[in-house]
Structures are given as C-alpha cells and as structure tokens.
Symmetry: C2
Subunit: 279 residues, 2 copies
C-alpha cells in the first residue's frame, strides 16, 4: 500500500512527490500526459530558470522525480474509490494507498453541443455513480470513446440493459449499441428526450458525458468532493472535505502559475506528512 498516490505529473504533482519521497514516504505518481503546460510554448517567469519550453520543464520535473527513485507511471486514472484507505484504478492496474493527491490541472475537454448545457441536471449527467440509479431500467446514453467512458459504462450497466454509446463521429470497438454519427443537438421539453445526430434522432432518457480522460472534477463528482462554481476543488489547507484526499495546483483555483503550482505541491506534501503521522 502506497502512502500516497499522486494523480498528475505536472509541477504540483512532481513537487509534492519530491518532498514526500524525501520525507521517507512511499509515493507513486500517475500522469496521463503533459497537461496544460504542453500548450505553453515558452516559460520565462519561473524563478531560477530563465527560459524553458513547457514540455521540457514537465519532462525535467519527471526526470528529477525518477532520479530520486520515485515511480512515475504513464497511465490513465479512471477512478478513485474509498474503502480501507483508497484505491486508484487506471486503464492498467489498481493501486491501494493511504492518501491521494489530485494534481491533474484544469485541462478540460470542452464540448460544444447545442442543448448539452441546458439539460445538465435534467437528463445530462457527468457522473455515473452519482446519477446512474436515477435511470434504472431506462434508456441510457453515454457520450465518449476512451477508458474513462468504459469505466463509466461499467457502472451504468448495473442500472440498465438499454445503453447506447455515442461517439460523436469517432469509431470505437465495443459490444454495446454504438452510434458513431456526429451529434447535432440535444432536445427535449423540460427533460432531455433525444439526441439529434447527422442522420437519425435517438430517443433516450439520459446522457452521461464521459468524454476524454477523467479529470479533477470527474473524481470530485464521483467522490463527493466539494467544488466551487468554476469546478475548482474546495480545500482547507490543501485537504478536500474527504479526509486523506488532497488537492493542489490549477485544480484548486488561484492564479494558476507554474511557480504557485510547484509551491502547492510542496505545501501538499507537508500536509500529507502531517496527516499520515497523525494516523
């Protein structure tokens, strides 16, 4: 069992890992990709480094952690569950741990589908565990193509046999009903009633959105972590409302600079250390 599993290999996650490792804890970092920083071309405001490419800084950080003997895995976290401590499931494995640090950043797959926003809470949901039971034996739609969608799909299968996967134009290999058409809009009166695609209209009772990869706010929704209206996780001294789950970096809001994220990581490590020692 790991003392801490850190989700995210950006400035916050890696900085936390470096401190936790040096505190003597058994830590694992799981990062899916290079996050928001991979978009930033040139960074010239990070104290101590005059000029560096975003992606180079991320790689540098990961190597720094690896050279300290920290395990940094490139896997996709699909869910976090509570039990005896926590279990973090990726597309490849399951990891048990005493604490979790959510340092995923705020990268979000934005979906511009007419009507999607309007039906949030009225048929459109972002969390199978939270809302699946509302649609027991109903016609369930799920939107997505990747590992995260598959993980949500597994949950929804407990509630209904009538499930349609909407890929919004992509191909995907699944045993379920799959609609690979582009989605034009979501329709309904007070509640979602149908998904209008290029060639056909599909009548369903709900649509679960699980596009792209699970991010900080997906984990928060599934676990009942409090968020503000901008989907930043609400923390008190870097701990969320769930004891043992910490968060830092862009996902908790603030000025979203690299230096503040790296500093958050350090502060998170101190708080995690205190939490583990109290246990």
């Amino acid at each position: 069992m790991f003392d801490s599993v850190i989700i995210g290999s950006g400035p916050c996650g890696i900085s936390a890992a470096i401190y936790l490792k040096r505190f003597g804890f058994n830590v694992l970092v799981i990062g899916k990709d290079y996050g928001t920083l991979s978009i930033n071309t040139l960074i010239e405001n990070y104290y101590g480094i005059e000029s560096i490419n975003g992606i180079d800084l991320i790689k540098k950080g990961i190597n720094q952690a690896k050279n300290l003997g920290i395990n940094v895995l490139t896997e996709e976290v699909v869910k976090i569950e509570m039990g005896n401590g926590f279990t973090v499931s990726t597309n490849k494995n399951v990891y048990a741990c005493k604490t979790v640090l959510i340092a995923t950043g705020m990268k979000r797959t934005t979906l511009k589908i007419e009507g999607l926003k309007d039906f949030e809470g009225r048929g459109v949901s972002y969390c199978a565990v939270c809302d699946g039971f509302l649609y027991r034996k109903k016609r369930i739609g799920i939107l997505g193509t990747g590992e995260y969608m598959k993980s949500e799909l597994e949950v929804l299968k407990r509630f209904s046999n009538d499930i349609t996967v909407f890929t919004n134009g992509e191909d995907v290999d699944l045993d379920e009903n799959v609609v690979c058409e582009k989605i034009i809009k979501i329709e309904g009166e007070n509640h979602l009633e149908s998904v209008v695609c290029e060639n056909n209209t599909y009548d369903i009772d709900c649509l679960f959105v699980a596009v792209g990869v699970a991010n900080g706010s997906s984990f928060a929704r599934h676990l009942g972590i409090l968020m503000d209206d901008k989907e930043h996780l609400i923390v008190d001294n870097y701990m969320t409302n769930i004891p043992g789950i910490f968060a830092g970096g862009d996902i908790i809001g603030g000025i979203k600079q690299i230096i503040t994220a790296a500093s958050d990581g350090c502060s998170c490590a101190y708080k995690i250390k205190d939490y583990l020692k109290e246990k």
Copy 2:
C-alpha cells in the same frame, strides 16, 4: 517614482520583480547580500532544477531579473518611511515608490548578551522611532556598528545629547562617545541601569539595539506593521496592515521553502498589481 521597491533579492523578491516587470510596472530590487540561502549548500527539492548550490540559485535569479531589464542594486536598506507613497533609504540613496515589498527573509543577527532579553521593554529597545521619545534628555546607549546603527543614531540625536555607542568589541569611526569594549552583561533592578563591559561599567537609561543590518522585523517595528510572537509579519493576502506595504517569503512564516518563497513573490506581484490599479 517607482511603482514598487522590493527589499530582498532572494526567491521571493526576484520572483515578484519578474512578474511585476512583465506586468509593465517600474520596479527596483534592493538586496544586501545572498541571505539565508548562501548558507544552504545543496538544493535538491526545487521543482525543475535537479541540484544547485544555494548561492548559485540566488545569482541565477538575480541575473534572470537583470536580463529582463530590472534594476537590482546591492545596497543596504536602513529605513522605510511613509509620506506621499513611501521612501526607502539605503546607505547610498533614497528611492520614492508607491508600494514596498518586504522580502528580506528571516536572517537575524542573534546577540547573546546576558540580561539583554530580560530588559526588553524595560530599557532595551529595537526601534529608535518607536521608543526614542521615552528617553528624552536621558543617557542613551546604542549597540551596533553599521549603517543601520548610524541611521538609528540620527533619530536618537533628536532626543538626547548624551549618547554612547557600544560596539561590543569592534572598532568604529564616529564623532560620538564610543565604547569599543566587549559587553559582559546588562544590569538593573526593574529597569536597565548599566552596561557591564570588560573593563568598565557604564550607567545608562536605555540601550537601543541596532546590530547588523535592518531586517524585516526592524522595518515592521519602525512602521507599526503587525508581527506575530515569532516576528513574522502578519499579512492578509500578502499585504501588511499598512496599505501599500506587502510582504512574502520567510518573513511571513509558513514552511519556509525556496519554492514557497518564489511562489509568494508571484502572488505578491499579483496583489501589488491589483493595488496599483485600484489607486
């Protein structure tokens, strides 16, 4: 007039300067020396830099600022005064500014003289402006040798002609009464009465301590900035109780890591920007 004068050229001060400069403000950094970090030999927990000497990191930061066109002066700040904005006086010059950032770190000249601590508030003072008037026309002692002592001495001269400078064994060239003997202890009943030196005992009514350089807590005392019992400046969103005077890094307490100090600098810059824009 500068938009901001930053006192301290460590991680907090330089990081703030980089951000303020890039926000388009006219900023000046004044640093006396390499601070606490010059003692740290090897830094291996700073995100993005695998291993670096403390002094090399400080030099790197200063060069980074200079290459952005920021003026970084090696002068000793002896006082900050309020007026139309603020004036920051060094051993060489006076600088007017709209805001001040105190990022001096917590390096403190510790003095181990028997009785000194016991008579704090009862004859021993650390602030001429604050307590000088209490000893009008009395026998005033002042302890110190440098620019900061001279600056405090100027203030004390307004209150008394009977001033003795104690150097605690060092030589100093001054027109005042100078005692260059080592100090053994401070004596008195309820209130300080005399300074016992190696060869003689000197009867005085008070002793102003102005050893070494003025640091964050000296400035705080002179300006009435609130401090906690560990002499950390108390800030609300990086601003002290004096509007326009900000503080960050070790001087405000917390976990005192390089990464958190550099992050504080960035956060201070954002707060200073907001303050200047409101004005």
